[in-house]
Symmetry: C2
Subunit: 318 residues, 2 copies
Amino acid sequence: MSPEFDLIRRHFMRPTQHTRLAGGDDAALIEVSAGMELAISTDMLVAGTHFFADVEPYRLGWKTLAVNISDMAAMAAQPRWATLSLALPEVDDPWLEEFARGFYACADEFGVDLVGGDTTRGPLALNVQIMGEIPNGQALRRSGAQLGDEIWVSGRLGDAALALAAMQKRFSIREEQLETCRTSLELPQPRVALGLALRGIANSAIDISDGLLADLGHILKCSGLGAEIALPDIPRSALVDEYAASPTVVAMILGGGDDYELCFTAPADRHADISRVGQQIGLPLSHIGYITSGSSLLVRDRDQHLIDIKETGFDHFA
Amino acid sequence: MSPEFDLIRRHFMRPTQHTRLAGGDDAALIEVSAGMELAISTDMLVAGTHFFADVEPYRLGWKTLAVNISDMAAMAAQPRWATLSLALPEVDDPWLEEFARGFYACADEFGVDLVGGDTTRGPLALNVQIMGEIPNGQALRRSGAQLGDEIWVSGRLGDAALALAAMQKRFSIREEQLETCRTSLELPQPRVALGLALRGIANSAIDISDGLLADLGHILKCSGLGAEIALPDIPRSALVDEYAASPTVVAMILGGGDDYELCFTAPADRHADISRVGQQIGLPLSHIGYITSGSSLLVRDRDQHLIDIKETGFDHFA
């Protein structure tokens, strides 16, 4: 047995729930349920670009899978199977053990089977592909927004961006505050229950990975519509709110990525249904604006004045 | 539109054949045919480990997909869908155009839809996940070898390892010889037609990516059996044969990776069927030995003497 194979066996072989064959062959084998289509997404995380090389490996393992599961949530798909590719500078078993523990904590939480993977020597990089099931035709697509739809956001925005800015010494907060918002950055909670509950209610959805304006912008572009949102209605934590007089923090609320909340649109007559969903799953859902005709994305402050938005989100090649 | 998204649109958006939604949303959507299960595999390629950073991008694009399609061939699956993740030091459009041209040449040749992907800044690394369809229960697994099975190898082994050794100045060959064997290394041909034709005939299969002994060793380990093979019966090109007196080249034939031929086992009474398959698809298929009881892998030379095998294949963490 080669050391490479042994690495997989040591850290990434656990029983699966809904998989015919996982690991140890040229491919994994899965069976898709009748009447379902597959939703498929992939994300690559590179040290230095997406995470600090010295991040706690447990948290990195969680986040690597969580950001992919978040894409399933945004499509209203039930996450089911994932593959993992790891490029590692060296085989560091204690590090891998913690990474695997975080990865599987997330997999177990959301019922995902790890069905295959690849490991190689190289600069630290992680790639997950996720697959989920969704009844034919029920996916929530970015292109589905309708004129007059209400725009909603789950949870609270800005904590992850605030943590990142503080860790990069671009913004100063207190030590215990950093611990709080750093959890949002490093242990994001994919909104799977919300995505599933929005089937048949919402018209479009996306997860907020690049920032609210950038991601809502994707919905608008794909749907050929515009939007108007109200800054005071955008949900943020008490911590972020404490600093919300700072233009830097306003930019975090509007353009900061990594929160992995859902932004979705739905007809106004489903407002009560959506409020009920939020109560049922115990997640605040905030109505922040409306889909409009045209193609512009307007943001108003508490005095109804338009805010000049230049900071439209994180771009990996900006 | 962000530059990142634009990179995907510029180079990796083409019509798909059997995909409901590809690219531009949180996930792709596919429908698996009734009665089929999905075979899923992933491979990560890192500059410096799997390829030279200055390799022709067309060939890198081809190989990145081809090595994944090869895993489908080894399972007897029909390759269908792929995702691609790219970590790039910079956005180099001419390079990406050539990479995409090679990737799509391979995709078109084997009927694969690129359905999604991710791009990010980072040290050059590529990850493909491939998905293929196979009728329920018909996959060729590593664990299927039976006592008495004949062991077969497709094509010819050693060219890729010879090219790599020459490029790394570990072995000296003539310039025009390097051009020839380098094609095997950089433009491998996945044996999809062979894999499909072996459904119902072979008992087990694997693709030779790590070297014949290492990969046949995986079949033996998974099947709980041993094998005996004859060095003179292992197919090699005229070029490799020219140097076959060198122990280094014998090690290439037995242990050199990157040829992406198939090694498979089948009952002796299917010998004629397999010969017919080889003629039909125009690919030489060579019977190189037998599955035995026990767990050892023995190699005999032309005088029936046992060869001492230390070089058992390429290991990414060796």
